[in-house]
């Protein structure tokens, strides 16, 4: 599963730690989600989407093998 979180985060001028603080997760959560090593729960996906004022579908994209 690909995601656009790094793109949205950089456009907002936030560091990983700042985004993590804003949605109350650890920095490692953001780091590993961005690099697609960790698939977050729906709750975290919704929190990130709500923070960037966008939809979950625009942040996460399913790939063929998913």
């Amino acid at each position: 599963m690909q995601n656009q979180i790094a793109k949205y985060r950089k456009e907002a001028g936030l560091s990983q730690q700042e985004l993590a603080d804003l949605i109350a997760v650890s920095r490692k959560t953001i780091s590993t989600v961005e690099t697609a090593r960790f698939t977050p729960s729906v709750i975290i996906a919704l929190k990130i989407a709500r923070h960037f004022n966008t939809s979950v579908e625009s942040l996460f994209t399913l790939q063929e093998h998913d």
């Binding site: 993590a20 997760v25 650890s26 920095r27 490692k28 959560t29 960790f38």
Partner: protein, 139 residues
């Protein structure tokens, strides 16, 4: 959950991993060294002192037992996930080491006490947990 809680959990996990590694190496020395030197009394004393010293440092310096309130899981989703995976690695490592001991135990039985074997299993568990957490925590 507040950001303060999450930072506490991250700090706790990092220190926990290093503590496990330190304990693992200490226990490994305690379990293997007597085989080489045919004596265990001084090393057991040293090992016990090292264990108590590191444990006191861990608890007093971090005060983690109070901060974590004896919770067995992490509230942060990613930390909880890698903690669970680390325990799976521990179980696998323990199974392999027990399998190895099962295969080669006849050669060792006369020289190895139950205490040494118990220390060896604990060392394997601590080492694997520490390495697994540190490996999964890397960016």
């Amino acid at each position: 959950m507040s950001n303060h809680d999450i930072k506490n959990e991250e700090k706790f996990m990092g220190q926990n991993a290093w503590f496990s590694l330190f304990m693992g190496v200490t226990l490994l020395i305690i379990s293997v060294y007597p085989l080489l030197t045919q004596t265990s009394a001084p090393l057991l004393f040293f090992g016990t002192a090292a264990f108590l010293g590191s444990f006191c440092m861990f608890v007093i310096r971090g005060g983690f037992t109070w901060k974590m309130k004896y919770h067995l899981t992490y509230k942060d989703e990613y930390l909880n996930t890698i903690d669970t995976i680390a325990y799976k690695h521990v179980v696998l490592g323990l199974l392999f080491s027990m399998g190895g001991v099962y295969l080669f135990s006849d050669d060792l039985a006369l020289e190895v006490s139950h205490t040494m074997m118990a220390s060896f299993y604990l060392a394997v568990m601590c080492l694997i947990y520490g390495v697994s957490i540190l490996w999964q925590s890397k960016d």
